[in-house]
């Protein structure tokens, strides 16, 4: 469980990135933190594994305050996959890359072997075991980065902008994968501004603007409230847009799912034509 109590954070250069954030993320929750670039999303999640410590207020993971333990200790529980895989890949082979964290955490050699194979298999990378990560395509490198974190099986997983530069199929695979992890009761936190992706995943949405939380709730509610979205400079998903525009005809306004949209529209059209 992640508890954030009235957290303020100011960077050494004086920029106030977080201004009074309070929230609780329970075990097994799937959360999307959204907002414009510079809204403080990444700053906030960097508090969850102790990379940043609050200037004021406190953050606790499973009841332990982040200021009391090292990043390495927290990282065992909280896996963090950075936006750009090139910021972490350095090993000669994909296999070594995945083993890196496991070695840091002091796993036994036999366990490391098992975990590496497991993670390779999970992300469909087994055939690249002995390949240099630098020879892989962008999408594959992203998967190696993800595998290198999943290998130690953290309870909480943070993905920073996982959809940037990804094509539709890659996003679809990622979505399936997240849902699979969710089924295993992992806590998943994604930082993103990809509205269409969030609309398809339907997680809890936390909307940020200028270091503050402006809304917190179900995706179908937050992504269909134009007043709130405007504040956070977010364009609503297309399905939601269609339903705003039709709201004068008495349609509900909280629709983001294409199949739900289809059902409602079909009903309305059939009623007219019958």
């Amino acid at each position: 469980m992640i508890e954030v109590e009235d957290v303020y954070f100011t960077y050494p250069n004086g920029i106030e990135a977080l201004k009074g954030i309070s929230l609780t993320i329970k075990n097994g929750e799937f959360v999307a933190i959204m907002g414009q670039n510079g809204a403080g999303k990444t700053t906030l999640v960097k508090h969850f594994n102790g990379l940043l410590k609050p200037t004021k207020g406190k953050v606790s993971i499973d009841g332990v305050e982040t200021t009391k333990v090292s990043v390495a200790t927290l990282a065992r529980k909280v896996g963090f996959v950075f936006q750009n895989p090139d910021h972490q890949l350095f090993s000669e082979t994909v296999e070594d890359e995945i083993a890196f964290a496991l070695k840091n955490f002091g796993f036994k050699e036999t366990v490391i072997k098992k975990r590496v194979s497991w993670a390779l298999n999970l992300l469909g990378l087994t055939k690249y075991r002995k390949t240099s990560p630098f020879m892989l395509s962008g999408g594959e490198r992203k998967r190696v980065a993800l595998a290198s974190v999943l290998a130690w099986d953290p309870k909480i997983l943070i993905l920073d902008e996982p959809t940037i530069g990804q094509d539709y199929q890659q996003k679809e695979k990622l979505r399936q994968f997240i849902l699979q992890l969710k089924a295993q009761r992992k806590t998943i936190i994604i930082v993103t501004h990809d509205v269409e992706f969030v609309a398809e995943c339907n997680p809890r949405v936390i909307l940020m603007r200028e270091g503050k939380i402006v809304a917190d709730g179900e995706a179908s509610k937050i992504l269909t409230t134009p007043e709130v979205l405007n504040q956070a400079f977010i364009v609503p998903p297309q399905i939601a847009q269609i339903f705003f525009q039709l709201s004068d005809l008495g349609f509900p306004r909280n629709i983001i799912d294409i199949y739900e949209a289809r059902e409602i529209l079909l009903k309305a059209i059939r009623r007219k034509t019958m």
Binding site: N49, F82, H87
Partner: protein
Amino acid sequence: MSVFDGLKFRRVYSPIHNLDPRIKFIYVCAIFVIAIMFGELLPLIILFTFQIPFVLLAGVKREWIRSMRGAAFLATIIFLTNFVFAYLGARGIGQSLENAVAMTLRFIVLIESFSIFFLTTSPDHLGLALEQTHVPYEFTFAFTTAVRFVPVLAEEAQTIMDAQKARGLELERGNFLKRIRNYIPILIPLIVSAIRRSLELAEAMESRAWGATKKRTNLYVLKMHKGDFILIAITIGILAVAIYIRLYLPIPSINQLLANIN
């Protein structure tokens, strides 16, 4: 977003910032020469005070004080060695002290003038000055690009460090050798990314007609303004006065002055 922020030049406008960097550089050199000419305390005090109006006019007091503080350690060492050697050389305490203070002040004057130059000259201004003193464009381009990308790379190094720490890397763990090895997971991504960046940069330059003609033109041209002529006059003036004093006037030491008052 980090300690590397100090590397970024802050764009400020002041009469000193607007001066032609070439003239400023000549001025700094003149101060340098004068400081070397005099070993006595009195002229060095005058030289030191003389430059304070420049700092105030440029509005860089805080940055200037910070850079002076940075020089404090070296200044202390210079003071101590000079004092000890003069004293051991069987001079009186008063004279040794004065001599040591003078040597320290000479160092401080040098740092002072150079820091004024760098605090008030933007890198692009400097690049422009290089270009117009017929330094090949490739060279000045490399210079401005380096200035431009140092903060970017510094920020990137920070991100890479965070990414590896998030995978359990502890930089401060182990003995000396192990600690050095701890930096490999940071250095490799940094180098790879710098290479990738430079490729993209080269691509962007090519796409914007790099090397289309030998006669490259420039959007900005350095022109001498009133302030620059004033600075030239000041420079020649103090240089002339300094040479005159050096050659024809005896310079009393502070000890002598104090003795005379009594």
